[in-house]
Symmetry: C2
Subunit: 282 residues, 2 copies
DNA sequence: CAGTTTATTGTAATTAAACTACATAGGTCT
DNA sequence: AGACCTATGTAGTTTAATTACAATAAACTG
């Protein structure tokens, strides 16, 4: 936990002098990390050992250690203790908050993702006869994005927004086909059905969805980024970004697995776009 | 800049002993921040002043200051100095690297984004008669995502992947219409033309693209996230995520501007999805 | 309400860490 | 090979941090 938040949380339990120290630090943490214990003590109008005791109370080894923790807290650019957007936020605040909460989500997604599942997913994808990407609602654009990435790999891919087309696609699938499904909640009935149909037809189903959800249970492989809380104003934001980064990861794993020759091919695809672009020197 | 990257960048300019220090720190930065100058000197098998000189060479005030910088670097969760995926990376490495480079990109995007432009964009969007979202290639799914967000706001929106449809849409636009364009490079000829057409027909053009690009010059408002380098295996990854977060920011600004009643409406939209979902207790 | 106890804070001494000045070793260029 | 310069280490100095202890303030008890 961020040590600034911790101070805020525990401030009531502090003694009078310790509270003085806490206030000085909260008020200007930047100054705090660049001060010696003596100067900080003077600013807070307390003695040096008081500052030291304050540090220990926050489970740090001492003043220098405390400064380290504080520096880490500041580095994340989180002067906002509460990262949720609220009514009174101006553009500056909500912009910062959304960026920060997105970054925080990615961080926790990274920590929670099961690498062995990533590896298995890459295995399956590299060997796929055909890959289909499906998502509904907000996840449709995630599927679209996946299509775009894997399309460049010169593998048969498709992606339908239409639920009927999705069903038909799964009906016609066979062993070696991969169906990749995106859903934040993992509770959309239609998508769970799609997964069932796909598996009945021997396709491999890879889900990017939340752990232990109905959809997750239908998948052969499930990638479940743990995104603690969404900033959402009634729609998933951060979790969807996490899904996209997972696609990036899989695409990267894919290209690495395919080896250097394959990457030369990719370069050709990219170069083929050149005639449609303005020159750099413009 | 992250001090670890800085070390890596400057490592060639270091002397033999200083390089020893650099290697020890890169190898295990966590250990470094919890060591005294004496222990670190011993680990690197150099003298204390060498460590001190090393710190100063990196433009820090001294060893404690250096540790502070290092701690801040680590806090961002970037133990990988070299964030580019390379051949020999296993799943664990490339997963971590991609997540981290995405987070780093978001961080720099956040710092570089012009808040006044964000505010103007929100102004324009809230007053729009109609909003069109266009992108080509990889940016098509970004436009799709934007559509999905703003669609819920009960504003007339559209989004075409087809370049001809896009052109026709812009031909028919008039004052009060907003055209929002997504492009990483800002050099795709067809999209620049779209911007020209839209402006000729009195639409307001908002671009999410790189600074000073041909496209940027055609826009009324331009949001240019500064994404330093892409991890790309020949396609934009991080920059596209930054674009999506910008959409989140604009959507959030939009709802905040519209006030609380409007948010009740949003909740209704969300609740309308319930019958199509499995229950939480499943 | 006085006396006792306990928690809180500060003073002074100690220890540890960081830094500076200087000396020596190693390398380079003429 | 000798002079010079850079790089590195040693020892001493300064500064910062910590500890032990004393004093004060607050709280509690008879």
């Amino acid at each position: 936990m961020n040590i600034l938040e911790k101070i805020n949380l525990q401030i009531t339990t502090f003694s009078k002098s310790e509270r003085k120290v806490a206030e000085v630090i909260i008020d200007n943490p930047e100054q705090a990390i660049h001060s010696s214990i003596a100067t900080l003590a003077k600013i807070a109008d307390v003695s040096e050992p008081t500052v030291n005791r304050f540090c220990r109370r926050l489970d740090t080894k001492g003043f220098p250690d405390f400064k380290l923790h504080l520096a880490q807290g500041l580095a994340n650019g989180t002067p906002y203790v509460n990262r949720h957007v609220d009514e009174s936020d101006g553009p500056e605040e909500y912009t910062a908050k959304i960026f920060e909460s997105t970054m925080a989500s990615l961080n926790s997604a990274r920590k929670s993702i099961d690498i062995s599942q990533v590896n298995r997913a890459v295995d399956i994808l590299t060997q796929a006869k055909k890959i289909s990407f499906f998502g509904l609602g907000a996840s449709a654009s995630v599927a679209q994005d996946a299509l775009n990435k894997f399309f460049r790999f010169n593998v048969p891919v498709n992606c339908f927004e239409d639920i009927v087309m999705q069903r038909m696609n799964c009906m016609n699938s066979s062993e070696g086909d991969v169906v990749m499904l995106f859903s934040h909640t993992g509770r959309t009935k239609q998508l769970v059905e799609i997964a069932e149909i796909a598996r009945q037809n021997d396709a491999t189903v890879i889900g990017v969805t939340s752990k232990d959800s109905p959809l997750a249970k239908e998948c052969n492989i499930c990638l479940s980024p743990d995104v603690p809380e969404d900033t959402d104003l009634y729609m998933p934001m951060a979790s969807r970004i996490a899904q996209l980064v997972i696609i990036d990861v899989l695409a990267t794993g894919f290209t690495l697995r395919r080896g250097p020759k394959f990457r030369d091919n990719l370069k050709k695809v990219k170069d083929s776009l050149r005639p449609s672009r303005f020159d750099k020197r413009d």
